[in-house]
């Protein structure tokens, strides 16, 4: 290329040379991940989603630094007060600070949504990966079981579990995991069923590498894309479900502040008509958070498209 020797290189050329030298030295070996990250962040909705998500998450985590009130503290001298400098979003029926309750409630709601989505994802992936790789009777049995879980209406499962186990945070988590693992399992299973036929898998088998190492270490990374998307979408769905179930009085026990339990106060027609600050702000926060997570999920889906790696 540079046969006409003393051509002066432009600055751009030189920087390209430097990049190439780095590449040759293997220093930029994480380029692929950077590429999909760059692609993700170049999507404006996904970036907005990340920012919104972080704002809500961080204010919930650092709630004690932001509001001076205890979300459980009843103040009978300040019932149903409208927003003011003292109580930014007013107080509820028993005088608790609504802003404090939204921030502290976010901790529980996000924990339930994200926690059960991630737990369902881990469970679904762990089972789907190995059973699809090994096939055989185990795979056939798990597949049938997952069909039962998918066909079973969630609300009946909830009523059943609540009536047997009673209302508690853990029970709600268990219910969400029980209803959430099956779609993730099937997603991973479908991907692994096609990946197991790839020749790099057979090469590992020809070297006698053990089954779990092949399944979890070598096949799984290529099957994870769609599941990460599903985890974000389930997070949003579970947060909505928590709000819905708590509103019906089937979710987390009422004394624990969650977004759903805060909303629960609007059960009362008078509050709905006269005290908007009790239900409107928390409704907006739930919508904003669910929207943010959905934007992130869509962004992940676009950027993790395996056909565009390369």
């Amino acid at each position: 290329m540079n046969q006409h020797a003393p051509v002066r290189k432009s600055r751009l050329d030189r920087s390209f040379d430097r990049i190439r030298a780095l590449e040759e030295a293997g220093a930029l070996s994480s380029r692929v991940h950077n590429r999909s990250l760059r692609k993700f962040l170049s999507n404006p909705l996904a970036s907005a989603g990340v920012i919104m998500f972080l704002i809500i998450l961080l204010t919930a985590i650092f709630a004690p630094l932001i509001v001076p009130y205890d979300p459980l503290k009843i103040d009978l001298r300040a019932l149903l007060q409208p927003p003011s400098a003292e109580h930014w979003l007013g107080t509820d029926k028993v005088g608790r600070d609504v802003f404090a309750r939204i921030l502290y409630g976010g901790r529980i709601s996000i924990f339930i949504g994200l926690g059960s989505a991630v737990a369902a994802g881990v469970l679904g992936v762990a089972i789907g990966c190995i059973s699809a790789y090994k096939r055989g009777w185990l795979d056939a049995v798990v597949l049938r079981v997952s069909e039962v879980f998918i066909a079973f209406p969630q609300i009946i499962l909830v009523l059943l579990l609540v009536s047997i186990l009673g209302q508690s945070l853990i029970n709600l988590l268990l219910i969400f995991i029980a209803t959430g693992w099956a779609p993730m399992y099937r997603m991973v299973r479908a991907r692994v069923l096609s990946l197991r036929e790839e020749e790099y898998v057979q090469a590992l088998e020809a070297f006698g590498i053990s089954t779990p190492v092949i399944a979890y270490k070598h096949i799984l990374p290529n099957a994870l894309g769609p599941v990460t998307v599903q985890i974000t979408l389930s997070t949003a769905a579970f947060i909505l479900a928590e709000a819905g179930l708590s509103f019906l009085g089937l979710g987390v026990p009422l004394q624990i502040p969650t977004w759903g339990n805060i909303l629960n106060a609007a059960n009362d027609m008078r509050i709905l008509e006269q005290n908007w600050w009790i239900w409107l702000p928390v409704g907006l926060v739930i919508s904003a958070f669910v929207l943010a997570v959905n934007f992130i999920g869509d962004g992940l889906r676009d950027s993790s498209d395996p056909t565009q790696q390369g």
Partner: protein, 341 residues
């Protein structure tokens, strides 16, 4: 090559690989695909044995059955070494492991043979660890050496598969198989997916490696024109069975089986220094689920008679021809090479 060792490195005896077809609510086995249907074949130490046939004839399945990547259902896979003869089919996973380093495979599709998620070294490191190649520096050096053995710069081991061309990927696949210093390599159509110019390059590389490392190859291909100069012997496969096997010159010079004759006549004339009329095979390859009775080739054979439809011909030598030229055809003696015309 080595006096103490038996002449045959591998012997297949009555090998069958039937895939079950399941149906109904209880997923019972209702039928089977007879991909490999009774193969007797011996592979001599140090030779290149070509395994030729149309796609779907079971040649890849046969190759994979030898390495137990496909589950054979009957017969013996006898491997000979300084430890004597072992039937690989009878071994447990643990007992099989020491033989994993003696038998390896090179794959057909350069795009699926490397894991897109990792650099070459990361993906291969589990194998190097499993075979005890020392600490990380030592393992990197081993892979670097292998890359150099297939004419690639050693620092390429830190690249991702998508950074390589098809020919380069195929050479990486070869380097991978060499890592454990194997004696026998099943080459499953290693050049079929490559451009003609690159094919020649990769074949040359395989040839050099064989000489340097005393390798034995089973060279699977659907393209007879590649085999004539590359293989010492050629076995022709049709619907899960070997129908003819002989030295390369024999197969091309005195072709005995009507199916082999049709395959050879289909090679473009420019590739061969001989004139031949193309024999067009009628109909499609029958389903390996229910292969035709008698000689499985009879529905497409222009010489078929009643006996062909009723009795399965044995793979055996035929008089007037060398002892190691085996053919499975009832009418070979009366037809002889005349069928070639």
């Amino acid at each position: 090559m080595n006096d103490q060792l038996p002449e045959n490195i591998l012997e297949l005896r009555g090998l069958k690989t039937h895939y079950p077809i399941r149906g109904g609510v209880f997923r019972r086995t209702v039928d089977s695909i007879k991909a490999v249907d009774g193969v007797d074949l011996s592979v001599r130490r140090g030779e290149v044995l070509g395994l030729v046939g149309e796609s779907g004839c079971g040649k890849s399945t046969l190759g994979k059955s030898i390495l137990r990547l496909a589950l054979s259902t009957a017969g013996e896979i006898v491997f000979s070494s300084e430890n004597g003869e072992v039937d690989l089919r009878q071994l447990t996973r643990a007992e099989l492991f020491p033989y994993r380093r003696r038998l390896q495979i090179i794959f057909q599709d350069p795009h699926s043979s490397l894991n897109p998620a990792f650099t070459i070294f990361t993906a291969f490191d589990d194998v190097l660890k499993r075979y005890g190649y020392g600490d990380k520096e030592a393992r990197r050096a081993v892979l670097g050496d292998l890359f150099e053995a297939v004419n690639m710069p050693r620092h390429y081991i830190d690249r991702y598969p998508h950074e390589f061309s098809g020919g380069q990927r195929q050479r990486i696949g070869i380097a991978r198989a060499l890592a454990v210093d194997p004696e026998l390599i099943v080459c499953d159509e290693p050049v079929s997916a490559l451009d003609a110019s690159i094919q020649a390059q990769v074949l040359k590389l395989l040839q050099n490696l064989r000489q340097e490392r005393n390798l034995t190859y089973i060279f699977i291909t659907h393209d007879l024109s590649v085999t004539e100069y590359f293989c010492d012997r050629i076995a022709v496969m049709y619907l899960g069975k070997i129908v003819e096997i002989a030295k390369s010159e024999e197969i091309f010079g005195t072709t005995l089986h009507p199916y082999t004759q049709a395959l050879i006549s289909a090679i473009p004339v420019a590739d061969l220094d001989r004139k031949s009329k193309r024999i067009v095979l009628e109909g499609d390859v029958p389903s390996p689920v229910s292969p035709p009775s008698g000689c499985a080739f009879h529905p497409r054979c222009r010489f078929a008679t009643d006996i062909c439809r009723q009795q399965t011909p044995k793979l055996q030598p035929s008089k007037d021809y060398p002892k190691d030229h085996l053919v499975a055809c009832h009418r070979v003696e009366e037809l002889g090479v005349l069928g070639h015309a």
